[in-house]
Assembly symmetry: C2
């Protein structure tokens, strides 16, 4: 099942903001877009949705832009996916009474597994993985 690029773009944007989180400065949309290879006007919509879901916040005017609403450790891949698509994984069978109950339970398990995995991947950890990689070069 192919995922949409939207959640991918969103995750990249959050990662970009996570890197700047310690500085406390806001990052501009166009700057993020160029850095991450995302169409600027599309990224605008994505950030807007992330904002309504309280994952990021915005600052207007000069030196404005976007920044994370919480520390990177408190934002997970699951949060981002839910912000974009409502659910991490949503099997249509769960809402269809015609689907045999035992099969619906199987889909529910798959959904739970994906959700659990996505919720255990937070952006602080992702950042630290890149840090670990850099350290290795010093050896």
């Amino acid at each position: 099942m192919k995922l949409s690029v939207k959640s991918d773009y969103a995750a990249r944007a959050v990662l970009g903001l996570a890197r700047a989180f310690v500085t406390g400065a806001a990052r501009k949309v166009e700057e993020l877009a160029l850095e991450q290879g995302i169409p600027g006007n599309y990224l605008v919509q994505i950030l807007l949705e992330l904002k309504t879901k309280q994952l990021v916040r915005s600052v207007r005017g000069k030196d404005g832009g976007y920044l994370l609403a919480r520390p990177p450790g408190q934002i997970t891949l699951g949060d981002v996916m839910r912000a974009m698509h409502g659910e991490v994984l949503d099997p249509p069978a769960l809402g269809d009474p015609q689907c045999p109950l035992e099969l619906r339970e199987a889909w529910a398990r798959l959904k739970a597994a994906a959700e659990q995995a996505a919720d255990s991947l937070d952006f602080q950890t992702v950042l630290e993985q890149s840090g670990d990689r850099e350290k290795m070069y010093y050896i």
Copy 2:
């Protein structure tokens, strides 16, 4: 992320065939379609794809129809999803060199988790769950 109904339909069809597996008889497409609430002409295409992926086989002519190619215990939800969509879960980031490496690793983990979960759900187990439920009614 919403899944398509296609893999849902496919799973229902496989479950219907799994129930009839012990009898060794082939089930007709239209029969399965009515029982599972699937558009008949669409189910034909699905079964055709399942057949090319060697999950089911067909018998032509009178008393023809479809049956499982292997025992229900050797067919998993992962098999069905891969037959329909190529992958259980396919994040576009994995094929995009512009995506930061550490983020791609996070997507890869999510994918692996979903795959592992889907592959551990086989149809024999699903059948037995419905059996367990029936037993409970006898208490």
